[in-house]
């Protein structure tokens, strides 16, 4: 199976047909839901929060964020960024509660400092590595993204990004860019060495005045 990252940029890969296919495949929905729940567990939010969904696609993760029961610290409000208009169209048709933005995370994260409690990203940030052209480098895109993400999170805030690096080099490049932006970073691997192996980049913003209350 070829990696979609190796063929086309995400806005072209996820055209209307691909976007619908992605969203209606129950296998993909299940995997996406379990990764979202895992990411939420790692975020450990204790009260209703404002969450940035990086590469929100058709809003599969967002729906979960909107539906977290009050007894489990929800429901959360979310803002999703995605570069694929087709994916966002599907999100519209599914009538998700979060706000949607057509945006390229490699261009930055346009929110004022300290806006979000947390950020979540499922299967998206490896796309930052494949947009090499004469005008833009993947290093520049990674740095704009992580710098913007760092600034947009509140002190003590957290981001969890599940991602599929193509190789060891890409994995190091991504986590290195996060650390350079100021994050405390660790990579967690679930089911290592199996074909279900999943990587989560867990990022923390230090200097928390309110870590005790926000979770």
């Amino acid at each position: 199976m070829s990696r979609p990252e190796d063929t086309l940029p995400p806005d072209l890969h996820y055209n209307d047909t691909e976007a619908r296919k992605y969203t209606t495949s129950s296998r993909i929905q299940n995997i996406q839901a379990s990764m979202t729940n895992r990411a939420l567990e790692l975020l450990a939010l204790s009260c209703p929060s404002v969450i940035l969904d990086v590469g929100c696609g058709s809003g599969l993760s967002g729906e979960i964020l909107s539906s977290i029961d009050p007894s489990e610290g929800g429901p959360h409000v979310w803002v999703g960024m995605d570069i694929s208009a087709s994916m966002l169209d599907v999100a519209l048709q599914r009538d998700v509660e979060g706000d949607l933005m057509l945006a390229d995370i490699g261009q930055g994260v346009p929110f004022r400092a300290g806006s979000f409690d947390a950020a979540i990203s499922i299967s998206a940030i490896q796309w930052l590595c494949n947009a090499e052209s004469s005008e833009v480098s993947s290093a520049g895109r990674l740095s704009r993204f992580f710098n913007g993400l760092y600034a947009s999170l509140k002190r003590g805030g957290r981001a969890v990004c599940q991602f599929y690096p193509k190789n060891e080099q890409q994995r190091t490049m991504i986590s290195g860019a996060a650390i350079k932006a100021g994050f405390g970073a660790g990579i967690l691997e679930d089911d290592p060495g199996t074909k279900n192996s999943k990587l989560y980049l867990v990022l923390t913003v230090g200097g928390s005045a309110d870590e005790g209350t926000g979770g």
């Binding site: 929060s49 404002v50 009050p70 409000v77 960024m81 706000d99 933005m101 057509l102 929110f111 005008e135």
Partner: protein
């Protein structure tokens, strides 16, 4: 796009990062919609310290809402005043820009909003 999100959003143009005029973005020829969202007082208490109240006052007035008090209410005030709580919930979470433009006060860039989705894609030379 909810007014809460608008209160967090800045111009994405690189040259505007250091300018205070790039926030808040100004609605232009905007249509609003109102959604019903279950009250979530804990969320309001959580975000209240992070809402830029002056910007919210500006946005509300530009959209033609009755004027807001000059200072943000405290959590204690909101706990006592059910009316104020529900007005704030309506304004921040239930009111959305569905169509129109969001304009940067510094560079003049117009971000298009269509069916509630704001388009923040920029040409490379502005990033």
């Amino acid at each position: 796009m909810k007014l809460l999100t608008l209160n967090f959003l800045t111009c994405a143009v690189k040259a505007c990062k250091s300018s205070s005029a790039s926030f808040p973005l100004h609605p232009k020829e905007c249509e609003l919609v109102s959604d019903t969202i279950a009250p979530n007082p804990k969320l309001i208490y959580n975000i209240l310290p992070r809402v830029d109240w002056n910007a919210l006052v500006v946005t509300a007035s530009e959209l033609g809402f009755p004027s807001l008090p000059p200072a943000a209410p405290t959590q204690e005030e909101l706990e006592k005043d059910e009316n104020m709580m529900s007005e704030l919930h309506t304004l921040l979470l239930e009111t959305s820009v569905s169509e129109g433009m969001l304009v940067c006060g510094n560079c003049g860039h117009e971000y298009r909003v269509k069916e509630g989705i704001a388009n923040f894609l920029l040409p490379n030379h502005l990033v």
